[in-house]
Amino acid sequence: MTLTNPLVAQHCSWECSSELHNPPRYVIWPQSTGVCRCFAVFARSPVSMAMRQTPLTCSGHTRPVVDLAFSGITPYGYFLISACKDGKPMLRQGDTGDWIGTFLGHKGAVWGATLNKEATKAATAAADFTAKVWDAVTGDEVLTLAHKHIVKSVNFTQDSNYLLTGGNDKVLRIYDLGKPEAEPLEIAGHTSAIKKALWCNNDQQILSAADDKTIRLWDKNTKEAVKTLSFDASVSSMEYIPDGEILVITFGRTIAFYKAHSLDLIKTVDAPASIHSASLHPEKDFFVAGGDDFKLYKYDYTTKEEMESYKGHFGPIHCVRFSPDGELYASGSEDGTLRLWQTAVGKTYGLWKCVLPEELSSENSEALYCPPAEIKA
């Protein structure tokens, strides 16, 4: 059965599985001519249908990568910023991992980094007791906001007009970027260093996670804590998904999902190792998590089943995030690298190219980089 569909030819839509299929699963495989061939997949078919994930390694940092963030989707694609203990946060093209520039100016380890939705501004939080705002197009430093201790987290509002900071002095601060000389609004309450602070619920509320083992939801106007969640262990990471109002939290070996408005628990999933960061796919069908055992885990969000685990990093994973289009996820590790991983393994996207095994030996193969068959971690 042959289909001629130039639109379908752009995507490789298929599943890989080594189970016996009865009746057989059908796979549509695109060819460079624009024709799609349909294969029936039985167990151990002659053409190897299962593809192994090839992570893309982004080098450049010389110390552990401790935080990363994606921008929204802009007319120029989407972007990725990485915070590193070497003090030099970097901006990269989100879908390829290509380096765009390095923000120079911090005099200490950078603990947090973020981009605004349009990727025109960047903000970083560092051990030199400052948070800095940068022009993400020119790389120039725009603002330095002095703090009284190490700053750990920075977050823009949707309109990029306000910056939220949090750090070791236990106080949340809101800076009006239109009036940088003005004193920031301060919200105190945490009894230990703040690890992460995020705007949520249409920028009307703030979520903060601290070493005092609590997560607090604050009202920005009253500066009061609306709700507090207490844990037995320190929360290692927090991600807020505005579309669906879901909060993803990691602590110990657990990945927990909460409703952002009410802080009601939705579900928890336990991983084989201590998890430092997790991220939920924009379509909420899966989530990824990484931690102490250097592996990246992929779980089905609905069934909570572990789908895959990937080796590749040479150190604990500190941060992991899905791209805004959900096609890839990026992980930052103690080994100083960022790695990009495909959500749909084998699909043509960014630098990854979907090829049939026959094509690997044809004249097209010079343009392709094929990793060796045996990749030992």
């Binding site: 299962a50 994930q53 390829t96 520039g101 197009v137 020119t138 725009v142 990793p371 060796p372």
Partner: protein
């Protein structure tokens, strides 16, 4: 046996000679200089720009004049060292100097971190 996914190339790494943010990239050209809003009007901008250019040119000419001269660098932590100035890198992050006089002896070749330098003085 699983076939690894093919890749067109590896992600490009940082350029060792610059901090990036290519001014010839489509995004830079389209978004600059209005990426971060400023409140100055047109003519004030031009005058400020002219003065900036003049100061920058003066600075660069000073660096040129400094080449191969004995320069005294005043740095943080009350550090004062003398050396023969060689060159600066493009972003003025490091100064290449020779015969750097330090309390531990004379260093034949060295790089001084510009961020740590408060001032430098020399006889032209």
């Amino acid at each position: 046996m699983k076939t690894p996914v093919s890749v067109l190339r590896l992600p490009r790494g940082p350029d060792p000679n610059s901090r990036g943010f290519d001014p010839n990239s489509p995004r830079f050209i389209a978004l600059c200089p209005t990426t971060v809003s400023t409140s100055s009007s047109g003519s004030v901008d031009e005058e400020e720009q002219r003065l900036r250019s003049e100061l920058r040119e003066r600075f660069l000419r000073t660096l040129l004049l400094m080449t191969d001269k004995q320069v005294q660098f005043d740095m943080f932590e009350k550090v004062r060292v003398r050396a023969r100035f060689g060159a600066s890198d493009i972003d003025v992050l490091n100064f290449q100097v020779s015969d750097l006089e330090t309390p531990l002896g004379v260093q034949k070749e060295a790089l001084l971190r510009c961020h740590d330098v408060i001032s430098c003085s020399f006889e032209p």
